[in-house]
């Protein structure tokens, strides 16, 4: 017998234990894209690899509320202090880098966005899954998904540091501050601390070519599909910064691989990608399930109440029978 989550909680509440707990942190896992969900569309064919997004990601996330901020902690990169070194040249995501531009090359690497004798940039950061594995596996609800904008964010003071999120994430996103005695998980939080002041993700705001654009996921999807429907070589006004931007850049459409990465991966994400090369070629795992990953563990968890009832019932019955037998025999 499998249960849905609501029933499961009822059973748990029946035991009285739940009443003593503070918050049953997100008892249900989201399975639909929130209507107001925001995200990023990254178009590798527009990316020139300037890494402006990386630098500005660090600057704007090193302030209170930012993904790299912690009171009393050195910020990973001295924002607004250019003498101390602006360029820390990370080669991969880390606890100090939650957004990275990488380049993949083959052969002579002369053709942009080509897998043969070519190269392609790729931008890697949290995908903000519709039903995030990290949120489902966190034992204390330190990783959460905002029910309105769908941002997957981190509540530092709940985290116990079990690092199960790092095992669970199929995109290798959460990174850990192993170097500190009181460490944090670090990941992109889509600059959700900037929305109140009317701002949006710094990587999009400071992208000069429109390779990264911010917006509502429904609009981003439409934009991505539109680009895929365009003819190679045709001129198109690519929006810059945000999907509904007045500021556009006219250029020729490059050849795309006919797939929006993030549309189906892990059941769908709020970070979408277009590229001129196959996505596994630029480092994306092909074997990621196309279904919601939390369902894999829920299939097990939902059976627990039934198993518990079965073990207790069968055990009591066995005990009753075997003790009577022993009494008949005059033992014990």
């Amino acid at each position: 017998m499998a249960m849905n989550r609501r029933d499961f909680l009822k059973v748990a509440a029946g035991s009285g234990l739940l009443l003593a707990s503070d918050i049953p942190a997100q008892a249900t896992m989201p399975e639909k894209l929130p209507p107001q969900a925001v995200g990023i569309l990254y178009d590798a064919t527009l990316c020139i690899g300037c890494k402006s997004c990386m630098v500005n990601c660090k600057i704007y996330n090193s302030v209170p509320g930012g993904a790299l901020y912690l009171k009393g902690r050195d910020i990973p990169y001295e924002a607004n202090n250019y003498e101390k070194g602006i360029w820390d040249a990370p080669v991969d995501l880390s606890s100090r880098t939650v957004n990275i531009i990488k380049v993949n090359t083959s052969g002579t690497a002369v053709n942009k966005d080509s897998a043969e004798n070519g190269y392609s940039f790729v931008k890697q950061h949290c995908m903000h899954c519709i039903s995030p594995a990290c949120v489902s596996v966190c034992p204390v609800g330190a990783l959460r998904k905002d029910p309105v904008n769908g941002v997957v964010y981190y509540v530092e003071n709940r985290c116990i540091g079990c690092r199960y999120c790092m095992i669970a994430c199929p995109f290798k996103i959460p990174r850990y501050e192993f170097e500190y005695a009181l460490p944090q998980v670090r990941k992109c939080q889509l600059c959700h601390h900037r929305y109140e002041e009317g701002k949006y993700s710094a990587c999009c705001e400071f992208c000069p070519t429109g390779a990264s654009i911010f917006g509502k996921v429904v609009d981003l999807k439409k934009e991505a599909e539109k680009r895929l429907s365009l003819k190679t070589g045709q001129e198109y006004d690519f929006p810059v910064q945000t999907v509904d931007s007045k500021f556009t850049m006219r250029r020729q459409v490059s050849k795309y691989i006919n797939h929006v990465y993030g549309q189906t991966e892990a059941g769908g994400t709020q970070y979408l990608m277009l590229a001129g090369v196959p996505f596994d070629w630029i480092g994306f795992n092909k074997s990621i399930d196309k279904t919601f990953l939390p369902e894999l563990t829920w299939a097990y968890i939902s059976k627990i109440p039934a198993v518990a009832a079965l073990v207790i019932g069968a055990g009591t019955l066995t005990w009753a029978i075997t003790s009577r037998k022993n009494k008949d025999k005059g033992e014990s």
Binding site: M29, S136, V140, I160, G161, R163, P183, S287, D289, T318
Partner: protein, 376 residues
Amino acid sequence: MNQKDIKVITPFSMVLIGIMAAGAAVALYRLLFGLGASTNLNDAWPWGLWIAFDVVGGVALAAGGFIIAGAVYILNWKKYKPIVRAAIMNTFLGYLMAATSITLDIGHPFRIWHPLVMWQVNSIMFIVAIHVVLYTSTLATESSPMFFEKLNMPRALKFVNKIMVGVVLFGVLLSCLHQSSLGALFLIAPSKLSALWSGSLLPYMFLVSAVLLGLNMVSFETILTGRVFKHKLPMDILSGLAKGSLIVAVFYFVMKIWQLAKGPGIGAAFDGSTAGNMYLVEMLVGVILPMILLSMKDMRSRVSSIFTINLLVITGIVLNRFNVATFGLAEYAGQSGMDYFPSVMEFILTLAMVSFAIFAFKLSVKYLNVFPEGQH
């Protein structure tokens, strides 16, 4: 040998105490300077030796308690009564070791209590955490009669004995759930864990292999303590455990083959990769060889052969836990170009945990009535 003839301070004990002292120093160092300073863990290898051996392996090694307690109190198989206290004590110590290790392994040891108040029922880690706490308390209750006898508290003893059947049944339930949950931890990562081990059967295979391991641990400990403390070995118990092992081993073997055939195909184990070879070693040492040996009656009735089989199963199933928690993830983790081999400090702490379990068991044999009914 009488209890009072057992010497606490022997050269072997001094070695154990030395390792424990080193372990305590490592624990302190880890608390002060963090995981990066004390371990070789990194972003591609978030879990290492402490999780694979001390926690996932340690809990499996401690499966004996619920099996023997269940057999004696629920099934009323009184034959096993002479070893039930030793089995419970061992399991209790094993769980203390696992609980201490997980506390030191998490990034914020002083927040270890968070899952108890911040429920998150979608998380297997939450389920595991609740089980560790509940089952360690249950084990404390199950072993409390030994302490109440020693402290001469007849009323408390009477009370605990009255509720013992219920406590044991609760323990059986928690163990079944806990053993399988440790396997379920890896259900969420099908794109990372090698297909040799992943799949929806994983939690149930963890439970069955824990039963196999538990039976062999109990047998192993019975023979070992019998030799060390010069008890007469209860042959009927040992061959009973061996027969049980055979049944569980056959069942586990069928499960493993079924999972392999249904998943990546039998050929995947023979492709010569590291994971494939590890799988073969695990199966050969922990399941196939013991199964063949156990099927011969005279192997089941000789102490030396039983002891050898016990060692094979223990090695094989612990290797299985290593495979699932480390080697099975290696190919994926290696894509990031990061490697992992445990640091000296990680090894020291793990050795210290094992030393603690051995030394504490020795103390309990000396000071508590672990082997009742005139075995001394």
